[in-house]
Amino acid sequence: MKRLDCRGLSCPFPLLKVRENLLETGKGDIIEILADDPLTKMDIPLLCQELGCELKEMEEGDNFIRFIVVKRI
């Protein structure tokens, strides 16, 4: 599983980084994304939809949000 750390970045930069990585990754690959900008809670699930990825998990910790995304296309 690939790990993408977007903590410390504020929107739109986490989204840019995630988009770039999801486009590069292969079908079936799983990516764990860590972010701390609250806007990513809305943006990353919608980005997944747009890029044909499945958001398997979204978990909120004390100072971070963790996403597990699977590339489907």
């Binding site: 504020s10 739109p12 930069f13 989204l15 806007l39 809305m42 980005l47």
Partner: protein
Amino acid sequence: MTSVEKEKLWIQALGTFLVSIGGKRVVEWKSRKAEEIFKLLLLKRGRPVHKDIIVETIWPDVEVDEGEFRFYKAISRLYRSLEPSGNAKRSSYVQCRDGAYWIDFSTVGFFDVHCFQETLNRASLIHEKEGLEKAVPIYLEAENLYQGDLFEGNIYQQWMESERERLKKDYIKILSRLSIFYHEKGDYWKSIEYCLKRINIERFSCEAHILLMKNYALKGEVFEAIRIYREYEQTLKEEMGIGPSFSVIKAYEDIIKKFHEGKRS
């Protein structure tokens, strides 16, 4: 005269760099490198820095011997900048032992970076324990201390970049908290003021643009909110080749929807 009796240094490093002795005489730097060494030592907050490290940092591209020669020249100029009538071989403000140099912080009366961080820490603590409203006066105090980026104008010195970015992030955090606080309080103009300050240093910020649009819409200035969205969209397209994020688009669409609903009713 001991260092305790010595007139204290007053140092402004956020924005225009200014050092004065006892708040009266402004230090005139005898050379740019002397000033740079002082800045380097300043960021170490009284911790000793070895001469070799200073040479490597300030003259990264010169040979060791040449670097050392330049260092002694610059340090002597630094002493004379701080104490023009004093000895060029020592200073009561900058101490030296075993090849290491440091600023004696007991001779510093005011250092804005230190005050900024201390005030922000105090605000964050009160914010955590007693809530944002109680912390706002202290956040405002900290905001007021940030007169500009660290050593504004020194854009080519890499060694100060991480500290400058760290302080800027802290400042953005303050602006974000203040803009949210005033927005929630219904003081939309005040919130706009802090959103604009934030956009001025963080041009692509989604959060600041969302809040700015919402503030204008809530003040009845929907066309201004639309103008902001279009300008933001244009900037992103021209400079980064992307469109606004989903959260910004949603905030914009909500404003338009509410506007049309209001017109119908």
